[in-house]
Symmetry: C2
Subunit: 124 residues, 2 copies
């Protein structure tokens, strides 16, 4: 099951919030860029049809939605697609690209070094 950019944006908020209403989600996204309530609601409806989220409870006639998909799973599958499409299926060039070009702090780097050391030990 694939998510569009906008659908993913809504899911990111839901993963963060655990649950949320359409008006809440609209207000959050409207802080970033101008978008009408009905637009956000349409995206929520589509996510519901795709079973990426579900209605968790209501308050008055306002509906709360909660994620049905797990962030790590979705990220993992998006990453796999991305590596296939953009880096011809090879993770190493992507990792190299990030470690060389993307912004990383000293702490980030030391944490990543630790991960690599652990990874290497598993392989030996």
């Amino acid at each position: 099951m694939s998510l569009s950019d906008f659908e993913l944006e809504v899911m990111q908020l839901l993963w963060e919030l655990e649950e949320a209403t359409a008006p809440q989600l609209h207000k959050l996204i409207a802080q970033r860029r101008p978008v009408k309530y009905t637009t956000v609601k349409t995206i929520i409806d589509r996510l519901e049809k795709k079973a990426a989220l579900q209605r968790s409870r209501t308050e008055g006639r306002t509906i709360f939605y909660a994620p049905l998909t797990v962030k790590k799973d979705v990220r993992g599958s998006l990453l796999k697609d991305f590596i296939n499409k953009v880096f011809l299926g090879k993770s190493q060039p992507l990792a190299a690209h990030i470690l060389e070009e993307e912004e990383l702090s000293i702490d980030d780097i030391e944490y990543l070094e630790k991960l690599l050391k652990e990874r290497k030990q598993e392989l030996q």
Copy 2:
């Protein structure tokens, strides 16, 4: 300028081959999955309109196409978008995800360790 999945697939081949004809590209892609010549040619035409590639020369009435965009630039901009959308703009969680979950050989790991060491030295 954004590229669709199919457009990117054609560009990946062009970056590899330096230049190619529509029939060549069609044959290569058709090895992976069934697709008609005209479909591939449509994508090439769209890439030409987007100025991602250009006609480099002809042989008879067959046209050779060459990339106008640079692989590293396109990858960089796609990666930036991807990090923004999927990892909320933070490279470190993506790097961590890859170093933990994706397949890497000992050689890969040692190369990445070297990159990190160099990166750290630049920062200090």
